[in-house]
C-alpha cells in the first residue's frame, strides 16, 4: 500500500492522547467517527425538540403556545438541523468508523482533513443556532428557503444562515473526498470493486453525489447572498431575475440530497439482513447496479418538486416519467432484501428489528413517493401533509432506523461490550409504534386538504392532528432511551467476541472487539 501508511505502521504503537486534545487534534478515524456520531445524536435531540414544539402547537386548533412567526422558525430549523445536523453527520460518522475496517485499512486516507471536516460542523451549527437569538429571529422560510421569501423578505439573520450552509458544505465535500480517497486507494489486496461490501459501495456513490451537488447548494446560497447584500437580482423579477430559477437550482441539489440521506442506510441494511438471515445477500451485483441507477436518475428528476410552478407540459411529462422510473431500481432493492430473508434462518435482535422495519416502512414511503410522482395527482398532494407523511416515512424509518440498526449492529464492535438487548427491543417497539402513530395519520390529513407549514388548522383536521401529536411525543421521548442504552454499553456489559453475530460477514469482524486504535496494521488478504 501507499508509502504514508507504511511509515505510519512502522512507528511505535501508540494509543490516543490524553484529555481534551485527544478529541481536538485527533486524526484517528474511530475518534472522529465517535465525535460525528455524538454530534449527530445531539442535533437529533435538538431538532427533535423543535419537532415537539411544532407538534405541541398543532395538538389542538387555535394558537396556544407559539406565535406563527416562531412556528415558522421552528419548522425551518427542525428541517435544517435534522437534514444537515442529524442524518448526514451520522452517516459520515458510520463511514469513519466502518470504512477503514471494511476495506482493511489502518485509517482514513486523509486523516488531517478528516479532523478539519468534523470540527467545521460544530462551528456551522453554532452559527445556525445563534440565529435563534438574533433580532428578527432565526430563518423562517422553510428548509427549502425559497426566494424571494428568503431574500427580499428574509430576516436579517439570513446572511448568517448562508454562512453556516457554506461551512457545512465545505465540511461535507471534504468528508466525501476522504471517503473516495480511502475506498479507491486503501482497499486490501484482492478486494476488487465488485467484492466491496455494500456499505462501502453505497458510500462511494454517495460521496460522488455529495461532490456533485454540494457546490450547487453553495452556488444557490451565494446567489441569495448577492441578492440580499450586493444588489443583484438573480431571483427578483423586478430586476429581471426569476424566483423559479431558485427552485431549479435548489432542487438540483435537493433531490440528490435526499438520496445522500438514504443510500448509506441501504448499504448498512444490506449487511444486517443477511447477517440475521444467516444467508448471503440476494443479488449483490443487481444491488450495486440499482444504487448506481438511482444515483444517476436522481440528477434528472428535480422538477418533481415543482409540478405546480407552471413548467411547460413537455417538462412536466419528462420529470414525471423520470421520477416513475426511479421506482424500478428502488423496487429491485426491496425485492432483493425480501429474497434474502426468504428461506433464511431468521432471528430478531435489535439491529434486525430496525432493519426489517426499515424495509417495510421505507417501502410505504416509496409507495407514497410513487403516488407523488404522478404529476396530475401531485397537484392535489403538493405542499400538504401528505408530503410531510411521505418524507417522514422515508427519513425516519429510512435514514434514522437505518442509523439505529447500524448502531446496534456495530456497537459491540465499537465498545467491546454487548448492549442491553431488552432495552434495545423496547427502544425499537416504542419507536415503531410512536413513529407510525405520528406519521401515518398525516397521510389522511394531507388527503383531506391540510396544507403543510401552518401553525393552525381548520376544525375538520383536529382529530388526526391530536393522534399525530401523541405519537410524536411518544417517539420523541423514546429516543432518550437510546442514549441510556449506548452509555450503558460503553461503560460495561457482557464482553463482546470479535464476531458477536453468527451470520455476519466482512473484514471488520476479523478484528478484536474493541478493535485496535489503528485498525489494520498489515493489510489483510481478500480471496
Amino acid at each position: 500500500m501507499s508509502a504514508v501508511i507504511d511509515t505510519h505502521a512502522g512507528e511505535h504503537h501508540h494509543g490516543p492522547a490524553k484529555g481534551i486534545t485527544r478529541w481536538l487534534f485527533t486524526t484517528n478515524h474511530k475518534d472522529i467517527g465517535t465525535m460525528y456520531l455524538v454530534f449527530s445524536f445531539a442535533m437529533f435531540l435538538f431538532g427533535g425538540s423543535m419537532a415537539m414544539v411544532i407538534r405541541a402547537e398543532l395538538f389542538q386548533p387555535g394558537l396556544q403556545i407559539v406565535d406563527p412567526e416562531f412556528f415558522n422558525q421552528m419548522t425551518t430549523m427542525h428541517g435544517l438541523i435534522m437534514v444537515f445536523g442529524a442524518v448526514m453527520p451520522a452517516f459520515v460518522g458510520l463511514a469513519n468508523w466502518m470504512l477503514p475496517m471494511m476495506v482493511g485499512a489502518p485509517d482514513m486516507a486523509l486523516p488531517r482533513m478528516n479532523n478539519w471536516s468534523f470540527w467545521l460542523l460544530p462551528c456551522a451549527f453554532l452559527i445556525l443556532a445563534s440565529t435563534l437569538f438574533m433580532s428578527g429571529g432565526a430563518p423562517n422560510f422553510g428548509w427549502t428557503f425559497y426566494a424571494p421569501l428568503s431574500t427580499t423578505y428574509g430576516p436579517p439573520s439570513t446572511t448568517f444562515f448562508i454562512f453556516a450552509v457554506h461551512i457545512m458544505g465545505i465540511s461535507s465535500i471534504m468528508g466525501a473526498i476522504n471517503v473516495i480517497a480511502t475506498i479507491l486507494n486503501l482497499r486490501a489486496p484482492g478486494m476488487t470493486l465488485m467484492k466491496m461490501p455494500l456499505f462501502v459501495w453505497t458510500w462511494l456513490i454517495t460521496a460522488f453525489l455529495l461532490i456533485a451537488v454540494m457546490p450547487v447548494l453553495a452556488g444557490v446560497v451565494t446567489m441569495m447572498l448577492m441578492d440580499i447584500n450586493f444588489g443583484t437580482s438573480f431571483f427578483d423579477a423586478s430586476g429581471g431575475g426569476d424566483p423559479v430559477l431558485f427552485q431549479h437550482v435548489f432542487w438540483f441539489f435537493g433531490h440528490p440530497e435526499v438520496y445522500i440521506m438514504i443510500l448509506p442506510a441501504f448499504g448498512a441494511v444490506s449487511h444486517i439482513i443477511p447477517a440475521f438471515s444467516r444467508k448471503p445477500l440476494f443479488g449483490y451485483a443487481s444491488m450495486v447496479y440499482a444504487v448506481g441507477a438511482i444515483a444517476l436518475l436522481s440528477f434528472v428528476v428535480w422538477a418533481h418538486h415543482m409540478f405546480t410552478v407552471g413548467i411547460p407540459i413537455a417538462g412536466q411529462l419528462f420529470f414525471m416519467y423520470a421520477t416513475m422510473l426511479i421506482a424500478v431500481p428502488t423496487g429491485v432493492k426491496v425485492f432483493n432484501w425480501v429474497a434474502t430473508m426468504f428461506r433464511g434462518a431468521l432471528t430478531f435482535e435489535a439491529p434486525m428489528l430496525f432493519a426489517v422495519a426499515f424495509v417495510i416502512l421505507f417501502t410505504i414511503g416509496g409507495f407514497s413517493g410513487l403516488m407523488l410522482a404522478i404529476a396530475p395527482a401531485d397537484f392535489q398532494y403538493h405542499d400538504t401533509y401528505f408530503v410531510v407523511a411521505h418524507f417522514h416515512y422515508v427519513l425516519v424509518p429510512g435514514a434514522i432506523f437505518g442509523i439505529f440498526a447500524s448502531a446496534y449492529f456495530w456497537l459491540p464492535k465499537w465498545t467491546g461490550h454487548m448492549y442491553d438487548e431488552t432495552l434495545a427491543k423496547t427502544h425499537f417497539w416504542l419507536s415503531f409504534i410512536g413513529m407510525n402513530l405520528a406519521f401515518f395519520p398525516m397521510h389522511f390529513l394531507g388527503l383531506a386538504g391540510m396544507p403543510r407549514r401552518i401553525p393552525d388548522y381548520a376544525l375538520q383536521f383536529a382529530d388526526f392532528n391530536m393522534v399525530s401529536s401523541i405519537g410524536a411525543f411518544m417517539f420523541g421521548a423514546t429516543q432518550l432511551l437510546f442514549l441510556l442504552i449506548v452509555v450503558k454499553c460503553i461503560r460495561g456489559g457482557e464482553q463482546a467476541p470479535a464476531k458477536p453475530w453468527e451470520g455476519a460477514e466482512g473484514l471488520e469482524w476479523t478484528l478484536p472487539s474493541p478493535p485496535p486504535y489503528h485498525s489494520f496494521q498489515t493489510p489483510p488478504e481478500v480471496k
Binding site: 427580499t152 424500478v328 431468521l346 395527482a377 383531506a448 388548522y457
Partner: protein
C-alpha cells in the same frame, strides 16, 4: 336481537352522536366537483390500489419468511443468492406497470394544461396575506381577506364552523362555464388551491401562470394558500362561490355599481369621525396583520406605528409610504390596492389612534390629488 339490546344501542348512539358528528376522520381524497378533480381522483385511486397490490405481494412474502423461516423454528438457511430469471422479471414487470400508469396520467395532464377557449378570465394575485381577484372581462376587482376573528384564533371565543376557512369577499364564478385563472403574486410566492376543483397553481411575483376550471355544481368551495409565504401563511384561505349564470350576472352588476359608489366617495365631504370609523375597519383588514391591532408592530420586522414620528409628524412621508410602499420590504404599495377614501381613512386613523392624537386629517380628495401628481 333482544329489544333491550336495541334500546341500549339506540341510547348509546344518541349520546355519542353529537361527539361523532363533530369528529371528522376523513381518510381519503374526495372526488371533487370538476372533470379535472374527478380524473385526478381516479388516478389517485388507481395508483393507490397498484401500491396496495404490490405491497400485499412483497409484504406477504416477507411475513411468510418472518413467521416460517425463523431459526427458533429450527429452519435451516438456504444458500441461493441470485437468480437471473427472477431478477429480470422483477425489473420488467414494475416497468410495465409504470408504463400502463403513465398513459392516463399523461392524458389528464394534457387536459389540465388546456387553458384555451375560456368563457371568463380572472386574475388572481397573492399578497401577504390575502388574495385579490380581478375580473378582466368586466373591469372590476376586490380583495379577499380571512374573516375569522383573532378571538377565535387565540381561543377567546368559540370557533365557528368554517374556522380559518371563511373570507369577507369570496370569488364568485358561474357554474358550467370554463373559467381561466391568471395567477400571479405581488410579493412572495403563494399558491392558490381549491381541492374540490383539483386546481392548485403557484402565484409567482413577476410571472403569470395559467390554469382553469369548470364547476358543475353550485356551492361554496374552500381551500387555502399552500406555499409558505411568511407569518400568516396559514391564514389566507380561498373561498369560491359557484352560482347559476343568472345569479352571477346580477352579482357582476352589483359589483360594478359598488365600484361606482366607491368612486363617488372620493368626492364626498368627510368629517374626522367618519374617516376614523372607516379607517379602523380598513386598518383591521389591511394593516393589522403586520402592524398589529394595537399599533405596536412586531419590531424589528414590522415597525410600531404607535408613537412613530412618521405617523405623528411627517404627513407627506406617511402618505408616500402608504401609497407607494417601501420597495424591498414587506410594506407594499397600498395606492393601487385601496380606494382614495380607504387610504385617507386609514392614514387619518393611524394619526389619531393609540395615543397618536395629532387631530390631523387627510381627505380622499387630497389623496386623489397626490396620486395624480405622480
Amino acid at each position: 336481537m333482544g329489544v333491550h339490546a336495541m334500546r341500549a344501542g339506540v341510547l348509546a348512539g344518541g349520546l355519542l352522536l353529537p361527539a361523532w358528528s363533530m369528529a371528522d376522520w376523513t381518510l381519503n381524497m374526495t372526488p371533487g366537483v370538476t372533470g379535472t378533480s374527478n380524473e385526478i381522483f381516479s388516478l389517485h385511486m388507481t395508483i393507490l390500489w397498484i401500491c396496495v397490490a404490490i405491497g400485499v405481494v412483497v409484504f406477504g412474502v416477507m411475513f411468510w419468511s418472518i413467521l416460517a423461516h425463523r431459526k427458533s423454528e429450527g429452519h435451516k438457511p438456504a444458500h441461493f443468492h441470485e437468480n437471473t430469471a427472477v431478477e429480470v422479471a422483477w425489473t420488467i414487470i414494475p416497468f410495465v406497470i409504470l408504463v400502463i400508469m403513465a398513459i392516463p396520467a399523461t392524458a389528464t395532464l394534457v387536459d389540465m394544461y388546456d387553458t384555451e377557449e375560456s368563457d371568463i378570465d380572472i386574475k388572481i394575485t397573492g399578497y401577504q396575506w390575502k388574495w385579490r381577484y380581478d375580473y378582466i372581462n368586466d373591469d372590476f376587482g376586490f380583495f379577499s381577506n380571512m374573516a375569522t376573528s383573532q378571538d377565535e384564533i387565540y381561543n377567546r371565543a368559540a370557533k365557528s364552523e368554517h374556522y380559518l376557512l371563511d373570507v369577507d369577499n369570496p370569488l364568485v364564478i358561474p357554474v358550467g362555464k370554463k373559467v381561466r385563472f391568471l395567477v400571479t403574486a405581488n410579493d412572495v410566492i403563494h399558491s392558490w388551491w381549491v381541492p374540490a376543483f383539483g386546481v392548485k397553481k403557484d402565484a409567482i411575483p413577476g410571472f403569470i401562470n395559467e390554469t382553469w376550471t369548470r364547476v358543475d355544481e353550485p356551492g361554496i368551495y374552500r381551500g387555502q394558500c399552500t406555499e409558505l409565504c411568511g407569518r400568516d401563511h396559514g391564514f389566507m384561505p380561498v373561498v369560491v362561490k359557484a352560482v347559476p349564470q343568472a345569479e352571477y350576472d346580477a352579482w357582476v352588476q352589483d359589483q360594478l355599481a359598488a365600484a361606482e359608489l366607491e368612486r363617488q366617495l372620493t368626492e364626498k365631504e368627510w368629517t374626522l369621525e367618519e374617516l376614523l370609523e372607516r379607517g379602523e375597519r380598513v386598518y383591521a383588514t389591511a394593516c393589522a396583520a403586520c402592524h398589529q391591532a394595537n399599533g405596536a408592530g412586531i419590531p424589528p420586522t414590522f415597525p410600531a406605528l404607535k408613537g412613530n414620528p412618521v405617523v405623528t409628524e411627517d404627513l407627506p412621508a406617511h402618505l408616500d409610504i402608504v401609497v407607494n410602499g417601501v420597495s424591498g420590504t414587506a410594506m407594499q404599495a397600498f395606492g393601487p390596492q385601496l380606494s382614495e377614501a380607504d387610504l385617507a381613512a386609514v392614514i387619518t386613523y393611524e394619526r389619531n389612534a393609540w395615543g397618536n392624537n395629532t387631530g390631523e386629517m387627510i381627505t380622499p380628495k387630497q389623496v386623489f390629488d397626490y396620486k395624480n401628481q405622480q
